[in-house]
């Protein structure tokens, strides 16, 4: 099933429950090419679950998600093929510890997209240079700091040339002095008009980089706006309350 809507990702009445706990209740949202969507909200509000439903790391309980016009919630969809175009960055980095950085970056493009080793390594090297880690190609993940690991994780996803990047609290597991280096990489990506969905607690980043900010609580999107209005004139009571605590 396809739609005519030109949104890159179209979420319709998405719901997700774990046992009897409804984590997501009726989420509907369109994400367009070039959007940088920051999702904020208190812990347990369903932000991460929402993000993980987008590439079906969590199976949605109800509703539909269209990616490039294809219903990826349809069990007949080859989700692995669509995931190749949806890069994901995790809070805990999840680099492959038994592989060198270069292998971490090239294994998926080589095995899944049939690229030659030379081509894959060339592209990986370019991206490594761009995030300032060109000299770490032959290191193992355990030799890197948290901030370096997360930059590598971003590069790993980028090596698949994704259409959209999903970030699941990418700076929450980092020491404070390493947050900046990761946010800088993400800022550059946003500048290049990469479509991004970012679950984050970094209000400064959301205000500066996002094209849209969404507030989630209790399994609903309660408010959405351009960042300037979102932070200056919140309308929803719970959002006001939340912002008064975190800003």
């Amino acid at each position: 099933m396809t739609t005519n809507n030109d949104a890159l990702i179209q979420v319709q009445h998405l719901g997700k429950s774990f046992d009897r706990l409804d984590v997501l209740k009726d989420i509907t949202v369109d994400i367009h090419k070039g959007d940088v969507v920051c999702v904020i909200g208190p812990s347990g509000s369903g932000k991460s679950t929402f993000l993980r439903c987008l590439n079906r790391l969590e199976e949605p309980s109800s509703g539909k998600i269209f990616f490039e016009g294809v219903d990826i919630t349809d069990p007949k969809t080859d989700i692995d093929r669509h995931r190749q175009k949806m890069g994901m960055v995790f809070q805990q980095f999840n680099l492959f510890p038994h592989m060198t950085i270069m292998r971490n970056l090239t294994i998926a493009p080589m095995k899944l997209q049939g690229r030659s080793q030379r081509e894959a390594e060339e592209e990986a090297r370019k991206l490594l240079d761009r995030v300032g880690l060109g000299d770490r190609a032959n290191s193992y993940p355990s030799q890197l700091s948290g901030g370096q690991k997360q930059r590598i994780a971003i590069v790993r996803a980028l090596c698949m040339r994704p259409e959209v990047m999903l970030f699941d609290e990418p700076t929450s597991a980092l020491d404070p002095e390493m947050v900046g280096e990761v946010l800088n990489v993400m800022r550059d990506l946003a500048r290049e008009r990469m479509t991004m969905v970012v679950v984050t607690h970094e209000m400064g980043f959301a205000r500066e980089v996002a094209t849209r900010v969404m507030f989630m609580d209790g399994g609903y999107f309660l408010e959405e706006n351009a960042p300037a209005k979102f932070f200056a004139n919140p309308r929803n009571e719970r959002l006001k309350n939340f912002l008064s605590k975190v800003l």
Binding site: D80, R81, Q84, I107, L112, S142, A157, M160
Partner: protein, 230 residues
């Protein structure tokens, strides 16, 4: 003293070419162990994959149940009884190479232990690794092969080496179905010469040396695989 030792040695090993019992026995022991290990690893790998796939995804329910029955029965009964049952009951009415019976019995037995070793290795890998693999577009099997298994194998190598050692020594009960393995060979010499010390010690030393050589290689492999932890 040394005169007596020399005489004993001559009687037990040289006279009537009795050393051949040891050498042929050793050959049988190595043959049975080697093939049983291969069978055990293949079986154990298969069972571990089925069990951990069930635990991670809820699929393969029926196969998982079958595997659990296999594990319970094999781990709950002595290997010697299993060997005797396979020889006298399963193949009771057919002529079959006894070594093959031993390989089957020890392989099936070892497979149960190897399965649990592999499974613990797979389950010890953080779920984030599976998710990272899947998020890149790898399917479940590819993620297992490229990402989970290599890490799991490294984690379980010491336990796997231990299982090999146990299996090597367990084959010493093969004599119960009249296979002339190393232990049986030594015991035959004892029954001929009425001197127990020398042939049994010879067998013991040979087992010990085999285990030590094997341990040395496992440790080298471990060191090599550890090159990614710094």
């Amino acid at each position: 003293m040394s005169e007596k030792f020399r005489a004993d040695f001559y009687q037990n090993f040289i006279e009537d070419d009795r050393w051949k019992y040891i050498v042929n026995g050793l050959g049988n022991t190595i043959k049975i162990t080697l093939f049983a290990v291969l069978l055990g690893i293949a079986l154990g790998f298969l069972v571990a994959i089925i069990r951990s796939t069930f635990e991670k995804t809820g699929k393969l329910k029926l196969l998982n149940l079958l595997c659990r029955v296999y594990l319970t029965v094999i781990r709950g009964t002595p290997v010697l009884i299993q060997l005797l049952l396979i020889y006298f009951v399963v193949f009771g009415s057919v002529r079959i190479d006894k070594s093959l019976v031993a390989i089957l019995a020890f392989g099936i037995n070892s497979g149960a232990y190897v399965a649990e070793i592999f499974r613990s290795g797979i389950m010890s890998i953080d779920n984030g690794q599976l998710e990272a693999g899947r998020s890149l577009g790898f399917n479940y099997s590819q993620t297992m092969i490229y990402i989970i298994m290599p890490q799991a194998f490294k984690n379980v190598l010491p336990a796997l080496g231990n299982e090999f050692i146990v299996l090597l020594k367990e084959t010493s009960v093969a004599g119960y179905i009249a296979i002339q393995d190393l232990t049986k060979g030594a015991d035959i010499i004892r029954s001929r010469t009425y001197s127990a010390f020398m042939p049994l010690m010879a067998a013991a030393v040979i087992y010990l040396v085999m285990v030590m050589i094997f341990t040395y290689f496992v440790q080298r492999l471990e060191r090599r695989l550890r090159s990614s932890d710094h």
